[in-house]
Amino acid sequence: MRKKILYSSICMVLAAAGALGYERAHQAGPALPGAASTQPRSPGGASRSRSAAGTAAPRMATASQKPVDRAAMAPGAPGSGEHFPDTPVGRALDKHLLTLVDVNPGADDRKQRSLEELRKNPKEVSQALLDAYHGADPADQFGRWLISLTLWEVKTDEAYRGLQEIARSAIPAGLKDNDREGSALANESAIRQNAAEGLAALARAGNAEAERDLLGLALDPPSGDDAVRTVAIKGYLAAGSDYEARVQTLKSRLPGRYHDVVTLTVSQPEDAAPPDLLPASPKNKG
């Protein structure tokens, strides 16, 4: 009997705590729609965050906790990829960036036609791209990635200066790269991979400065990014007909851990099989 009373007390306490939890959540309800978006929050019910193993404290949830949020769109037009000045070349570049994100049939053909048009004004196009890169929000990695991709794909020596600058730029310190906080580092890497690819294309076409840059990036990329290094290694190898000599040059100057990518041989890794599904759980009804 004493045990029964004890259990009943615990149940009542838990029920009361649950109700209190609801009340607390409710009282801390949403502010007016459109309010400034700087309120850090702690969503209830988090039991294990995959994004920061070892840092998320397990917390129990109660059925009554529903901290639903409110979101409002900021007033004003969203813009439409307008990175460039209101000139014929600027407008062509804005249109080109829209084409890059188009997935409708024929998009790649339209992209090629657009590139051909851009190549008619290589100097102005290259300068506008570099200016736009400089003027972009540093955190707008997708926008900067599209600009660096275009600098590569326009394939003109006029783009060399911009490609060199971007490929050799350091990655800002402190950027995050995890589930919870996004993939800033990976996207900064991709921006520089574009630039290294652009240098590789110019080097294959005979640009000696681009070739020297690739060797420098292969040996010591200022970004410290090994994906950029790999692109540079392969770009340097492809830049001349003396393949074996280039392999030896790189292997003699690179630490051994990089030797396995000093090749232009393309491998075909096996496709991954799906992970085994978890054993039956009560939730999936066995």
């Binding site: 978006s37 979101a71 997935v103 991709a190 396995d260």
Partner: protein, 273 residues
């Protein structure tokens, strides 16, 4: 220990377990990433017309959590590419329809890009827990993206403003797949404070994420273009180079066709365009 003490301790434990849950409000701007806005609007034309949105809404954990998707998150118009729900469903659409013909439900055969959708879909259906939040902000910009919560009794996915507005549509599709792997495998990121996997051989979410990106580059044949394929290849390369603490990624993976996209990509994969 006396019953009184036990009751008091229980009360304290219960109060400690009561999280300071509170709802937030936030404002988002389509101008944060205007190129991503353009991309979502382009994809939404086919995504909405596919007729799959009502199915995903009702069975993938949205409907049973509908209060997380109203009040500006888009449940009033799932085909609005500017709202969090529309952007999530756009990503779901790319997860399923970047390869044609798409695998049927339960068919885990073929390329990663083929089985990625039915695998992820099974996780979403079983969890029945898709929840949208504002998340953390810094200097007016979102800093929080996604997380999976799968320790009993919790079983849900959380998506934040960073996921909706700072990730491009293909990136979002990859994130859906990546988080589903966490739930399906029960594996987290156990290295570099949750920023990396212990090894390639561990076969965690970064391994499968890389494999999905590689597969996307090599095999995506619809609702895609060479831009997104290049983006996928480079993001695979970045993760290959940085996300596996044991440095055990095989050379066959490091030297895959997208390791230097410029020297290997010739557009011949683009049969769907």
């Amino acid at each position: 220990m006396s019953p009184r003490n036990i009751v008091l301790l229980s009360l304290l434990a219960a109060l400690a377990g009561t999280t300071e849950a509170r709802a937030d409000s936030c404002t988002y701007s389509l101008g944060w990433r205007s190129d991503i806005t353009s991309a979502d609007r382009s994809i939404m034309v086919n995504a909405c017309a596919s007729g799959w949105f009502p199915h995903w809404w009702s069975t993938y954990g949205f409907a049973d959590n509908s209060d997380y998707w109203d009040d500006g998150f888009g449940s009033d118009n799932s085909c609005n590419p500017d709202k969090p729900l529309g952007r999530t469903l756009n990503a779901m659409y790319l997860l399923k329809f970047s390869y044609s013909p798409a695998n049927d439900w339960g068919d885990l055969s073929g390329y990663v890009i083929q089985w990625g959708y039915p695998y992820a879909g099974e996780q979403f259906v079983e969890a029945d827990g898709m929840k949208a939040f504002c998340g953390d902000f810094s200097n007016g910009m979102p800093t929080q993206y996604a997380s999976t919560h799968d320790s009993w009794p919790e079983d849900h996915f959380e998506w934040y403003m960073g996921f909706f507005y700072l990730e491009n549509p293909v990136e979002r599709a990859m994130s859906l797949f990546h988080e589903s792997i966490h739930r399906g495998t029960g594996k987290g990121h156990d290295c570099n404070d949750g920023g990396s996997d212990t090894s390639w051989a561990f076969h965690g979410a970064y391994y499968y994420g890389v494999e999905w990106l590689i597969s996307y580059y090599l095999h995506a044949n619809t609702n895609t273009n060479s831009t997104y394929k290049t983006w996928a290849a480079q993001n695979a390369n970045s993760r290959i180079a940085s996300k596996f603490c044991a440095n055990d990624v095989p050379a066959s993976v490091k030297n895959w066709a997208g390791a230097s996209a410029g020297s290997s990509f010739n557009g011949t994969f683009m049969s769907g365009l």
